[in-house]
């Protein structure tokens, strides 16, 4: 019987697939037979990826050195001991000597690593003023309240850059010297200290306040540097493109680390003879030891690392892929057994 529109009762529901809940649907029947190929395929793919990742991670070279200076471990212990209990610690230098038997494949990145340093501690992490850092003049004069107690100096001047993060800026510095031949002179390896921050951070997020009479110093006039700093922010570097809030060390530091053990990029080695990497030979890293970490049980490390498409050295991802892939294969086999053993039974059930 066909229903004409007029013959329909006023309250008759529409007979559509939607209202009658008969929409065509994919009904995933999760059973061994269907999941089998899925598991095997996924397992194989994961193992393949895992192998790739593992080898590419293994291909990355890393050279690291702990220069915290725990008792007698290195010549930095002197500095460490000297700085003990004094803040700010006196200027102190130490060096790390190492030699490369073969070429350290480039591009080589120089990192420093801090451990046990809680940049992600909430009260630390919020203690900054992004508007000030973006060069907003008003924010320069009136730092955000979050910066307290590093908002205003003792003299009542606004601190620029304000806040605990800026105040705790990492201030060790490194220089790399290469001795081509044994007994030969050490040549300084040029460290590219630019381009270590995110492009967007350096170009957009961090801006210096508008220059006053073409002078950055005047722009910052009437502000105080953070208490731990020895020099004002506009003197962080002599390079006008790398000083003030857009100093790349500063920008890198301000991108607070996710975990209490973290690295920060210090420099890239890519210039001159060193664009292909660090050639074999003896090296010396001169360290200006300023940053006190021993008070909180932290360590400072210096790391040379090459870089691949997957970033720094990290075997975990490859291994994890391998493990998960193997699990998938294993499950696949279990399901194969299940499939073979129980399929007949299920068929019987259905009959």
């Amino acid at each position: 019987m066909t229903w004409s529109a007029t013959a329909r009762g006023a309250h008759q529901p529409d007979n559509t697939a939607f209202t009658q809940q008969r929409l065509p649907a994919w009904q995933p029947l999760l059973s061994a037979s269907i999941a089998l190929p899925l598991f095997f395929c996924a397992g194989l793919a994961f193992i393949g990826l895992g192998l790739g990742l593992y080898y590419s991670s293994n291909g990355i070279k890393e050279l690291e050195y702990d220069y915290t200076g725990d008792l007698g471990t290195s010549n930095c212990s002197v500095c460490a001991a000297a700085g003990q209990g004094r803040a700010p610690p006196p200027r102190c230098s130490c060096a790390w000597y190492f030699s490369l038997p073969e070429l350290f494949q480039g591009p080589v990145y120089l990192y420093y690593e801090l451990t046990n340093f809680y940049q992600n501690y909430r009260r630390y992490g919020v203690s900054r003023d992004d508007e000030q850092l973006s060069g907003l003049p008003s924010a320069l004069r009136h730092p955000a309240n979050e910066c307290a107690p590093y908002q205003l100096s003792a003299a009542g001047l606004p601190i620029a850059p304000c806040g605990a993060i800026a105040n705790s800026l990492f201030n060790d510095s490194f220089s790399l010297w290469h001795q081509r031949r044994a007994g030969g002179p050490y040549v300084e390896v040029p460290l590219d200290r630019t381009g270590i921050a995110w492009w967007t951070d350096y170009h957009v997020k961090f801006r210096n306040p508008p220059l006053v009479n073409g002078s950055l110093a005047l722009a910052f006039q009437g502000t105080a540097p953070p208490p731990n700093w020895h020099r004002p922010v506009y003197e962080l570097s002599t390079d006008p493109n790398n000083t003030g809030f857009i100093n790349q060390d500063f920008v890198v530091w301000m991108r607070t680390a996710a975990l209490p053990t973290f690295r920060k990029l210090y420099a890239r080695i890519r210039q001159g003879n060193y664009s292909a990497g660090l050639p074999r030979g003896a090296y010396r890293v001169n360290i200006t030891y300023n940053y006190p970490v021993r008070a909180f049980g932290g360590h400072k490390r210096i790391i040379f690392s090459s870089i691949s498409w997957m970033g720094g050295k990290n075997p975990f991802l490859g291994i994890a892929y391998l493990v998960v892939g193997s699990l998938c294969i294993l499950m696949g086999f279990v399901m194969l057994v299940v499939y073979i053993r129980y399929q007949d039974q299920n068929d019987e059930d259905e009959e």
């Binding site: 529901p13 994919w26 996710a258 975990f316």
Partner: protein, 1336 residues
């Protein structure tokens, strides 16, 4: 938690509305057409104070100001809000939900600088969104109410204006107390009015109360005494009386007051004088009255109650788990606080990251730990799903949408579909364990069909009638498949329609009536099916199957011997056969007049048939009892649009009728023209009895000559009379009498006119009616017999009662007495036989009284009527005095046919593990037979009958039965405890003895006593089915209460009548059948269906789906929140428990609010673990819901464990992947978030058994919205959201292969266990649900 808050909210609402009545206590929830769902916003004045109403005309101005000035006018406002107060009031209401308060608390907490975790504004967002959504919903609802209010307020009525000295049009809202109002027929009453004038000569006015209580039958109202006698209309100018009445109250059945004339004479007012707002004037040309209550003080408005509020089992379960979540939250926060304290004590003096306060002090670890606790609560707040409650509400709306839109629930005969009146217990439908069903009207059609009668000891089995019914039955079942649209008009009728014709050809009927094929073809097609047309309820109880009784030939033969001469020799001692004839005459007179049936002619649908000029002793006795509530059940107004031509037509009965000599001889001729015009004028008006004529017309289309005789006015054709009876039984008997040419012609309060075949019209002076009540179980009429002049009492009632009231007769007495004994024995035998066949039996008896006897009784009765104290008892006593020493005339058997599809439904529900109890007021045999007929009891079931007269016997019997069951069922363990018994798998019960239990009302009374309850329940637990017969409404509800509270089971009660209301309200789910017995059951119910058979789909399919959907969705919500929040928690271990979030706050908030909110809702609305067909075919699948398998405490904890595992994977895979790198906080959070999104969404895909394009759309949409948001936010937010700055992070990551690798690995590793589990489950130990999936 929510339970508490709902409770608080509810009570607060009650407080505000000021109506101190409890949901559970109020007997019926009356529902007004005029103000749906609103609640009175004004407090009715305390009872006891009186209201004085004086006319609102200027001579009384001062007085009016004094008395009536403060009464509210007729403007109504059911809206909760106005434009001005909407925001504050809505907020105020919303904050009565504990969940909202909790989130408000969090917001406030975040404003405390010491514990602040997020930016202050951000925490407000979820709350604001939720509040806004609810506010919009409330606002829209309120706006709809506002529009309805406005519409109603602007309706026009006629109010007397002194200025113009006539009745002028005025808006309803301008009507005030004391106004005189004049209403015409079919107008809606604007306020509560005291009736002062009616054009009806008897001073009667009929009102239809369907707007008030859904009952479409008419009720009589009377003009105030003293005014009825006036011929002319009351002149408002001259009206100088004043009315004093009680303060406004919500009791529809009470109105007390008096009218005081200027001469201080007082006239009592009762509810009979009150016209209630919202009712419609019917059958009366015009009425006039004075307003006593207006607007919100009218009874209709005071009876408005809000929607029903119930909490489902699943939600109660979910609420406990919310509490678990709170505990979990507290544990996590304590961990954070403790961890932070310890961490801080290690680094207390490191100014690098332990930042001192501005004053240089460093916060102590202990204090910091304490603050951290609160910070953590803010941070991890998402664990308590704010969106859960909103989502549940949305999902339930969706579920209800689908239930209401299921075409399978559509009843085309009534053009009605399922009504969901309770919005929040859909999932309870999937967990029903006990079903309590009424019998009459629920399992059966409540269409009483006269089947058999026994007169003077002879059984007349009416075989032809039986055959007619059988053919109907087949036609119906055939017709059900064809599902033809009810035919519209005569024209459309004549068109042959294929399916209908098939019906006829297939049925036995077709062959029989082949000569009438064209006629009966179309007719039978719509046959019985169409007879329940959309407005059939108005022409209640009069489908052809009921009205057209085919007489028994043997009885007809005896009838033919009846001559007036026979009656003339009434007083002489007559030989046996004539005596039998007398019995027959009396029997049919009793059938025809012993009732409260109202006769109306179909061509004057709203006109009573009565000789209005009758004079005589007006007996307005027993006013207080039902007589004035005689259900006249007359049709509604005959507007053609309403009728829309779904008039039942049937030629089938005619096919038989016309072949019967008697009928064809006396068949009244009807003018065709008259017929056609009548049909045109009021298509549905031509009553059922007109049908044979119509058919005849079609049959003999060309032969219209000789049928021109006009029916006499006031003397309508016998077959065109409509009988409108209080109960269908009565109508059936009257129709049966009509079949034997004993036609009830008219009835007025004073007399009854009867057309008796051989004797001509007989006019009985009606002396008294003792209406039916459930205590006496009988009714009587006292008439003066027109032939003998004697006072005769005709009594009709339940056999058990009437048999006891018969005049005692010794077996060895005179021959007359001997014969009586013989008749009694025979009749009892026949009665037993009828009951065995499942017929409803009634006994007919009479008593001849001498005038003195009667006078004596009458005086007694009057004193009873006029007494103030225990009037009811006195009246009962008086009735007892009248109804004894009866002479048995005979008995009738009336069949109440099973509804279509009932046995199948019961069978399916049985298989679904639902225990079905039938609770009926019928007698045991009838009930048992119906139980067998509807497969409630199987033929090989062992039947135990509990029918004892004393409690001790009851105990003994129950003991014996229990022992017997245990003996036969050695396998099943002794039901040591009820709970154990309950959890015994139904399979075990099935394996053993199949037992049914029948218990009668009296025994039930014992069984319901405290001491026997346990034993009774134990006994019933052993039985597949329980039949309670002779149960009172109260017992019904007590049984439900007992089972519900003692067995802790989910109960469903289904019924159709007022007697089921209490049961429906007590059960977890009440279902009303919108049938013939008014709307009270529907009004009290949570769901209203039109046929019992719909119940099986409602439970097995929708119930199952709703339960599975909602429980899975709730579990998913818990999973989702725990999994996501734990990411934050794990991070605390690496940030010194400092409450840092590695995710941008906006993303964090939106994650729950936006990115992952729609998929679970869609899942909750659309999930289908099995197709509807499978669920219907395998009712066993329903058991999973009964056992709450989808949501056990175990399931909850497994879900939480899985959530923990997934969050661990989701956190630690990225953690190890990025450990030791130069990653910053928010860059680290990005892959976590992204992976979590994929995990959470794909988890849903794994759990879904049914994925449609809508799922696909929503999931893809969620993912896209996440990425789009992250990209847009990352591109635009340079400094906007310190310190969590997402600037360019997503963009960086989208170019980073490691990001993808991490996300893929995380997602796969997190979902692997669940996927494996599901796969293995599907193969190794498929649940019945999965197994059934293969059948799809």
């Amino acid at each position: 938690m929510t339970e508490l808050l709902q409770w608080a909210r509810y009570h607060w609402q009650r407080l505000v509305s000021g109506t101190p009545r409890d949901d559970d206590e109020r007997p019926y929830s009356y529902f007004s057409l005029l103000a749906c769902g609103g609640k009175p916003s004004r407090t009715p004045r305390a009872a006891g104070k009186h209201r004085v109403v004086v006319p609102h005309l200027w001579p009384f101005k001062d007085e009016y100001e004094k008395f009536s000035g403060t009464y509210v006018n007729n403007r109504i406002r059911t809206t909760k809000y106005t434009l001005l107060n909407f925001v504050p009031r809505n907020l105020f209401e919303q904050f009565h939900r504990a969940a909202n308060l909790y989130f408000l608390f969090l917001v406030v907490l975040n404003w405390v600088p010491l514990v602040e975790a997020f930016q202050k504004e951000i925490t407000m967002l979820p709350l604001v969104v939720v509040l806004t959504i609810i506010a919009i919903k409330d606002g829209l609802e309120d706006y709809r109410k506002y529009k309805i209010d406005k519409q109603i307020n602007n309706l026009v009525t006629k109010v007397y204006s002194r200025k113009e000295k006539k009745y002028v049009d005025r808006c309803w809202k301008d009507v005030t107390v004391g106004d005189f109002i004049r209403l015409s027929c079919n107008e809606v009453i604007p306020a509560d009015i005291v009736l002062l004038f009616s054009t009806d000569p008897d001073g009667i006015c009929h009102i239809e109360t369907s707007g008030l209580d859904g009952e479409s039958n008419l009720k009589q109202r009377q003009v105030v005494r003293g005014y009825a006698e006036q011929d002319s209309e009351v002149d408002p100018e001259k009206f100088s009386s004043r009315i004093e009445c009680e303060s406004p109250n919500n009791d529809l059945n009470r109105f007390r007051g008096f009218l005081e004339h200027s001469n201080k004479e007082r006239v009592g007012l009762s509810k009979e004088n009150l016209l209630l707002r919202g009712c419609t004037i019917r059958n009366t040309e015009a009425v006039m009255g004075i307003v006593v209550y207006a607007g919100h003080e009218t009874k209709a408005m005071l009876n408005n109650s809000g929607p029903r509020y119930k909490r489902s089992k699943l939600e109660r379960r979910a609420n406990t788990d919310v509490l678990w979540c709170i505990l979990l939250l507290v544990i996590m926060c304590l961990t954070g606080a403790l961890g932070h304290g310890i961490w801080l004590s290690r680094y207390e003096h490191i100014p690098f990251f332990n930042i001192p306060d501005p004053d240089g002090h460093v916060i102590s670890p202990l204090l910091a730990g304490f603050y951290m606790f609160w910070t953590m609560i803010i941070l991890l707040q998402v664990l308590i799903p704010i969106s859960l409650y909103v989502s549940i509400e949305i999902v339930k709306l969706g579920q209800i949408y689908f239930i209401q839109n299921d075409v399978d629930f559509y009843n085309e005969k009534m053009d009605s579909t399922i009504q969901c009146r309770a919005l929040n217990i859909t999932e309870d439908l999937g967990q029903i364990q006990y079903l309590f069903s009424d019998k009459t009207g629920t399992l059966t059609e409540n269409k009483m069909v006269f089947r058999s009668c026994s007169v003077a000891g002879f059984d007349y089995c009416h075989e032809e009638n039986a055959r007619r019914l059988e053919s109907y039955q087949e036609a119906v079942s055939e017709d059900a498949d064809a599902a033809g649209p009810p035919s519209g008009s005569l024209i459309s009728m004549v068109k042959p329609r294929a399916p209908s014709c098939r019906t006829v050809h297939n049925g036995p009927l077709g062959s029989k009536s082949s000569n009438h094929l064209t006629g009966s073809c179309s007719a039978s097609g719509s046959g019985e099916g169409a007879s329940e047309g959309p407005h059939s309820r108005q022409a209640a109880f009069s489908s052809p199957i009921e009205t057209d009784v085919v007489p028994d030939t043997r009885l007809l033969d005896k009838f033919s011997q009846i001559t007036p001469q026979l009656l003339a020799s009434l007083d002489e001692t007559t030989p046996d056969p004539p005596l039998e004839a007398l019995y027959i005459i009396d029997f049919f007179i009793a059938l025809a007049i012993c009732n409260t049936v109202v006769v109306s002619a179909p061509n004057q649908p709203r006109q009573k048939v009565g000789l209005s000029a009758l004079s005589g002793m007006p007996i307005k006795s027993l006013e207080e009892i039902k007589s004035l509530f005689q259900r006249l059940s007359v049709r509604r107004s005959s507007s053609p649009s309403l009728a829309s031509g779904k008039e039942p037509w049937s030629g089938v009965p005619h096919a038989f009728v016309s072949r019967l000599p008697l009928f064809s001889r006396t068949k009244p001729a009807s003018p065709v023209e008259e017929d056609v015009s009548r049909t045109d004028r009021s298509p549905q008006g031509s009553g059922t009895s007109a049908r044979p004529i119509e058919t005849e017309k079609r049959n003999g289309d060309t032969d219209v000559a000789g049928s021109k005789a006009e029916p006499l006015p006031g003397q309508p054709l016998a077959s065109s009379l409509c009988y409108e009876a209080e109960s269908p039984d009565e109508a059936a008997l009257v129709y049966a009498a009509r079949a034997y040419q004993c036609t009830l012609r008219s009835r007025s309060p004073e007399r009854v006119v009867l057309d008796f075949a051989a004797l001509g019209p007989l006019t009985f002076q009606l002396l008294h009616i003792l209406p039916f009540d459930s205590v006496r179980k009988r009714m009587s009429v006292v008439v003066r017999h027109p032939l003998s002049g004697q006072v005769v009492v005709y009594t009709k009632g339940a056999d058990s009662v009437v048999m006891r009231l018969l005049a005692a007769a010794a077996p060895d007495g005179p021959s007359l007495e001997k014969q009586q004994v013989m008749i009694r024995e025979q009749t009892q035998k026949h009665l037993d036989g009828y009951a065995k066949r499942g017929l409803r039996t009634l006994c007919i008896a009479k008593r001849v009284m001498s005038d003195t006897e009667y006078a004596e009784w009458l005086s007694n009765h009057f004193s009873a009527e006029t007494s103030i104290d225990n009037r009811e008892e006195l009246l009962l006593e008086s009735a007892m005095k009248l109804e004894n020493k009866l002479t048995l005339l005979g008995a009738t058997g009336i069949e109440d046919r099973l509804q279509e599809g009932v046995p199948e439904s019961i069978d399916a529900l049985h298989k679904a593990g639902i225990k079905i109890w039938m609770l009926t007021g019928d007698k045991q045999e009838t009930a048992v037979n119906i139980a067998y007929a509807c497969k409630l009891l199987e033929p090989d079931d062992k039947l135990f009958i509990l029918n004892t007269e004393s409690k001790d016997a009851c105990v003994m019997l129950m003991d014996t039965i229990l022992k017997e069951i245990q003996k036969k069922n050695p396998a099943s363990p002794e039901p040591a405890s009820l709970s154990e018994d309950l959890h015994r798998p139904p399979a075990a019960q099935n394996s053993g003895l199949q037992a049914g239990l029948v218990i009668t009302g009296k025994t039930l009374e014992f069984a319901l006593q405290e001491s026997l309850q346990r034993q009774f329940l134990e006994l019933t637990a052993c039985c597949q089915a329980v039949v309670c017969c002779r149960a009172t409404p109260l017992q019904k509800s007590e049984v439900v209460k007992l089972v519900r509270s003692h067995l802790q089971v989910m109960t469903l009660a289904i019924g159709d009548g007022a007697n089921d209301v209490s049961m429906i309200q007590v059960a977890d789910i009440g279902i009303g059948i919108s049938g013939q017995e008014g709307m009270q059951a529907v009004m009290a119910s949570d769901f209203a269906i039109s046929q019992f058979k719909h119940l099986s789909k409602l439970l097995l399919v929708h119930g199952h789906w709703c339960y599975i959907r909602l429980s899975n969705m709730i579990l998913y919500f818990f999973y989702k929140n725990v999994a996501y929040v734990n990411l934050l928690f794990w991070y605390q271990f690496f940030c010194g428990f400092s409450g840092t979030s590695m995710t941008d706050y906006w993303v964090l908030i939106f994650f729950n609010l936006l990115f992952t909110s729609a998929p679970p809702v869609i899942y909750g609305v659309l999930e289908k673990d099995k197709s509807a067909e499978t669920l219907m075919q395998l009712p066993e699948l329903y058991m999973s819901g009964q056992k709450s398998e989808a949501y056990l405490p175990r399931t909850f904890w497994i879900t939480l464990l899985d959530a923990f595992y997934q969050s661990l994977v989701c956190f630690f895979v990225p953690y190890y992947a990025y450990r030791g790198s130069d990653i910053d906080i928010f860059t680290f959070g990005n892959p976590l978030n992204t992976a979590a999104l994929f995990i959470i969404l794909l988890h849903l895909v794994i759990e879904s058994k049914n994925l449609t394009w809508i799922h696909g759309l929503v999931i893809v949409g969620s993912i896209l919205s996440y990425f789009l948001f992250a990209l847009a936010f990352g591109a635009m937010c340079v400094t906007c959201n310190p310190p969590s700055n997402p600037y360019w992070i997503m963009q960086e990551h989208m170019l980073d292969p490691v990001f993808y690798l991490v996300c893929v690995l995380t997602t796969c590793a997190a979902l692997l266990p669940r996927l494996t589990y599901r796969v293995l489950q599907g193969s190794l130990f498929p649940s019945p649900i999965l197994r059934a999936k293969h059948f799809d």
